[in-house]
């Protein structure tokens, strides 16, 4: 066990030998880890989104043709008896156009002179609250009716994020790998420069009988300190940045939360591991 006083003296000497270099290395680590924290946050957010139920409680089933009233009544009855469905309402194409005019505005060129006959008739299906999670299954069943052309339901913002999860995850892994490499390189170069600038000291200590642990443990501690301090500062910076974004985007209010403590601990631990690897490679060389 190396005496803490010796470690403290070593760290103080390292810092005093090149204060600006140490601060720049810490700043670089902080920035890299802040980017890593944001990347982890985004990927985790997308993962969580895949676990969430759909946010809208209604879906629209569009009809293929113009079926006779008896078929419509039969369809409405069948859908109304499905598990999870609370109410089914027929929306003729003219009423559909009126709804579109309400959403888009009556003067919108898209609907201004639109012939209602080009639009499909539809059913609006309202789901029971406790069955929202089953929306994709219910939509699939409704689509199974031969008279139904398509079923649409609003997945909400989280639904759109969830549908992009695979892409977000792949991109996140790539970015995280690049950041990890940068972080390792920063620590590697910082420790390497320190080792080179203190070559005489290491040589003399070796001659005097210092074992490998005594010689190199202080440099490993220095790297870990760089990684952990950078990790804490970077995580806090990322958290502050995300909070600032969430504060200014009311659209996301209540939908997306700030990074949690678990994510921060994972990022700091990962930063420490990267620093350790960087230091060990620098020492090995």
């Amino acid at each position: 066990m190396i005496h803490p006083r010796y470690l403290c003296k070593h760290l103080a000497r390292s810092f005093l030998a090149r204060p600006y270099g140490s601060l720049f290395a810490l700043l670089a680590c902080t920035l890299a880890i802040a980017q890593l924290a944001i990347t982890v946050y985004i990927v985790d957010l997308a993962r969580q989104a895949t676990l969430l139920p759909v946010s809208a409680s209604s879906m629209i089933a569009y009809l293929k043709d113009k079926p006779p009233p008896s078929v419509l009544a039969g369809l409405k009855d069948s859908m109304g008896r499905m598990e999870g469905v609370s109410r089914v309402e027929f929306i003729p194409r003219r009423a559909g156009l009126e709804r579109m005019k309400q959403w888009l505005g009556p003067d919108n060129p898209l609907v201004e002179d639109l012939d209602p006959e080009v639009l499909p008739d539809a059913f609006e299906i309202l789901l029971k609250q406790e069955y929202l999670i089953m929306a994709p299954v219910i939509a699939g069943k409704i689509k199974g009716f031969p008279e139904i052309e398509d079923v649409r339901y609003n997945k909400g913002l989280m639904g759109r994020i969830a549908s992009s999860y695979k892409g977000i995850r792949s991109g996140g892994i790539l970015i995280a790998a690049l950041i990890t490499l940068s972080l390792g390189l920063i620590v590697f170069l910082s420790i390497r420069i320190t080792l080179l600038s203190r070559g005489q000291e290491i040589e003399i200590l070796g001659i005097l009988g210092a074992d490998a642990a005594f010689l190199y443990a202080p440099y490993v501690v220095e790297a870990l300190l760089l990684g952990i301090t950078g990790g804490i500062l970077g995580s806090l910076a990322a958290r502050a940045a995300i909070n600032a974004v969430l504060t200014h985007m009311t659209l996301l209010e209540g939908v997306i939360g700030a990074p949690n403590m678990r994510e921060m601990v994972v990022v700091i631990g990962f930063a420490a591991l990267c620093s350790l690897a960087g230091a060990l490679i620098a020492i090995k060389r």
Binding site: M1, I2, R13, Q200, E201, I204, L205, G209, D211
Partner: protein, 218 residues
């Protein structure tokens, strides 16, 4: 304690630093190795300290072969010895205190012991007023005294000194030799390499080296 049997050291296949040297130095003995520059004195000390390996022959120090020992064993062996290098080998940007304390710190001694021991030994060599000065800022004589202090701070079993009074004034030289003499009287085995016999210690054994060979062992 130290046994060298038929040790030969050759550099670049033709430059003989030592030729078939055999010596045995017992516990608590004080031994002077005298000889002109290039006689092989430093090489002999380096073989004992494990800084060099013999081209042939055997070296045994405290029951271990420094040339054959693995690194951790060699480092452990070195911690039982003190070496006053001709060029001091001090860490210039460390204080006198830190240069000495590190020897005890690498032996994992408690901090209180390190502090008191360093102060005591610095007082012995008359450097207590320079304790926090950088080694690089000390004069030649002070550096020599600091090198000696560092070599004895951990109370080693063997003290090796390569020209320990080579660059100091006669008074300081006498002071340092007295200190080494006292260490020897306290039970430390001392091996001193020197080109002159001005400061031979009383009762010391003298080995003369010339062109890598032992000339006489009285």
């Amino acid at each position: 304690m130290i046994t060298i049997e038929h040790a030969t050291k050759v550099y670049d296949d033709s430059l003989y630093a030592l030729r078939d040297v055999s010596i045995s130095i017992g516990k608590e003995e004080c031994c002077f190795i005298l000889g002109p520059t290039g006689a092989g004195k430093t090489t002999l000390l380096n073989l004992i300290f494990g800084l060099d390996k013999p081209s042939s022959g055997k070296v045994d120090v405290l029951g271990l072969d420094p040339a054959g020992a693995d690194r951790s064993l060699l480092q452990s062996l070195r911690r039982h010895m003190g070496f006053v290098f001709q060029d001091f080998r001090l860490i210039d940007d460390w204080s006198a205190y830190d240069n000495m304390a590190v020897v005890l710190e690498m032996a994992r001694k408690p901090w209180g012991y390190v502090r008191s021991r360093v102060w005591n030994v610095l007082a012995w060599v008359g450097l207590q007023h320079k304790v926090y000065e950088m080694a690089g800022d000390l004069s030649g004589g002070e550096r020599q005294r600091l090198a000696l202090a560092r070599a004895i701070v951990h109370a080693p079993e063997i003290l090796l000194a390569d020209e320990p009074v080579g660059s100091v004034d006669p008074d300081t030289a006498q002071f340092m030799m007295n200190l080494i003499f006292r260490m020897n009287k306290r039970g430390m085995t001392v091996v001193i390499a020197s080109h002159g016999s001005d400061y031979l210690l009383e009762g010391a054994r003298v080995i003369r080296l010339e062109k890598g060979r032992i000339r006489e062992v009285p």
